[in-house]
Amino acid sequence: MTLQTSIRIAAALAALALGTQLAAADPIVIGLSSPQTGGAAYLGQHQRWGAELAVEEINAAGGAIGQQLQLSVQDNQCNPTQGAASAEQLISVGKVSAIVGALCSSATLSIMPIIEKAQIPLVVETSTSPKITELAGVGGNKWTFRINPSDQELAIGLARYLIADGKIKKVAFAGEDTDYGRGGHAALKAVLEKNGVKVGNGDFFGRDTQDFSAFLARMGSDKPDAIAVYLNGADELNFLRQYRASGLTIPLTGRVEFSELQEGVVESGAINGATSVFPYSEQITVGDNTAFVERFRKKFGEVPNAQSYEGYTAIRLVADAIDRAKSAEPGKIRDALESASFKATLGDVLKFDDHHQAHPSAVILQIENSKVVVKGLFNT
């Protein structure tokens, strides 16, 4: 059983209502819709940490247009209904000026019509489904902006790398049964098949799937040249551990998160040769990243991952927009975002195209000798 919309939201909301009453001074409230419980909670925690670090740094430097920023976090459990409810609460009770979120593509897609109706800008920073780009900007939703690359662009980068040595001809696919997994599959299939690589129909797993052994046994007999993995959080953890146990030597690829949670698996050497395309790695040394990693580690005791980096960048970007708009009014923030030219920590400049999609750099990672190695940075 998951804990439900009505109840969870109501409680959080009650606390929120109380909170806003107490803080009679008027800080600018920025909403964060993020999975704080459930299988993706670890990722949501990092996203929240990144956002908190940004708010803290901005406030220490005097805030935006002289006002303090305040972060209001709502749990979306990574599912569409909770996602919609979290946005409703942030808007009607939190009185937010802008929303950042929602980590999982399906939750983001369910929030988009709500913020459009309420006319509150939404900055998407980790959801990668290509559908979000299609719908935003000239696609119809003028209030949604995305600063991370979509799976469309990530797939192009990954494909270029995968086909370089010409050994990979057939790729199997294991994805989450959500907009993330299905969107990732469509994007990767389109790009790879154009280059003569066959991509299977894909197996899609419901969230909280425990047992992947049957799928892995099938892989052992199908023998594809690579398995593309588009799973998330605890499910990915289960998958990688069972992949190790299966003794398969088929290299993994796709969007595998090699963060510290997977350390045991990475160190065991079982996923040597695995490749992954990600918007961020703490090992990147360009721009101000080294200093950012240090600040983050000092505050939270862990190194930042893609979620924390993106959460941080999104808040920074919104604060920049507020400063340039000289107002915390949602409409003015939206206009300022449209003309943004924001230098992110990695040194790339975030500008939105007509679909409100920014084109930051992304990174190809590979496991070599039980270690994560950065194989290249490319522009999306």
């Binding site: 197996d203 419901g206 047992d211 049957a214 099938r218 289960n238």
Partner: protein, 288 residues
């Protein structure tokens, strides 16, 4: 090769299902209570092991024993406080009561433990063994060992001891137990302790195989219901056979078909069974 791997995987899962299904079937047979809290009892075993191994530095084997014992003690408390007050024929009352217990246990676990899935690493993690040329995770092999030993032990107790005869008599007819010279409420108490201990053990031995979280019991509960129905209500060997059938069908459906077929397998087996053998594999005449 693929099929044999799938069947082996299926038998491994089936053996664990058997621990859960047999306990549920035993409690139903003796008390005529469908235990809706059985999934949470299983969760309790898994979280207890996670706590003992992760926090108190227990080895896997002692932790599994202690978890099963602790869960059994909890089962006994449930029996004394609640289950023994349910009379025969109060079928709905038993369901609602155990459902309430399940709600309390699950949410208490979320409150104290958090809903985030955790990994349990034991001294047997990241090791594998070779079984007839097929690779099996050592932790899974140990889990199967536990299942075989405890179900065999239960079988011996039920067939070779006076207490076992009382249990079997009671599950057929209340007065018969008195003939054997045992008080029905004592026998029923023992049945609950054994049933919950088995579920707790199942949770404990599965904890290092998959991620552990307070909501893990809900999907298992329905599989356990299906096992009890397919095996024949209250029929323990039937429950074991049904568990293996479900484990293997899931594995084959997932390996030869797709992930969603794997999810649907338990429904398909149940529908097929009700179609052809409405009393279950070894039905003893309870109309289902």
């Amino acid at each position: 090769m693929l099929v044999s791997t799938l069947i082996l995987n299926g038998l491994v899962m089936g053996a664990i299902y058997a621990l859960i299904g047999v306990g549920l079937s035993l409690i139903f047979g003796v008390l005529e209570i469908v235990n809706f809290a059985h999934g949470q009892i299983y969760t309790l075993g898994a979280l207890a092991l996670a706590l003992l191994v992760g926090h108190f530095g227990f080895g896997f084997l002692p932790a599994a024993f202690v978890s099963a014992l602790g869960v059994a003690a909890f089962g006994y408390i449930l029996y004394v406080l609640f289950l023994q007050h349910i009379r025969k024929g109060e079928f709905e009352r038993g369901i609602i009561l155990t459902l309430g217990i399940g709600i309390v246990v699950q949410n208490a676990l979320i409150y104290f433990y958090g809903a985030t899935p955790q990994i349990v690493d034991t001294e047997f993690s990241f090791r594998d063994i070779n079984f007839l040329g097929l690779r099996v995770e050592m932790i899974k092999a140990i889990a199967v060992g536990f299942a075989i030993v405890s179900i065999t032990a239960l079988h011996l107790v039920l067939t070779r001891t006076r207490f076992g005869m009382a249990i079997r008599a009671l599950s057929q007819n209340r007065e018969a137990a008195l003939v054997v010279g045992m008080r029905p409420e004592v026998v029923a108490g023992h049945a609950v302790v054994i049933g919950t201990a088995l579920a707790g053990l199942a949770g404990a031995v599965l904890a290092p195989v998959f991620t552990v979280h307070p909501l893990m019991g809900a999907p298992i509960l329905f599989k356990a219901f299906a096992i009890v129905i397919i095996g024949g209500l209250g029929h323990l060997p039937g429950a074991v056979v049904a568990s293996l059938i479900i484990g293997v069908s899931e594995s084959l459906a997932g390996g030869l078909g797709s992930a969603s077929l794997q999810d649907a397998a338990v429904f398909l087996v149940m529908i097929a069974m009700l179609q052809f053998r409405p009393m279950g594999l070894f039905g003893k005449g309870v109309r289902i």
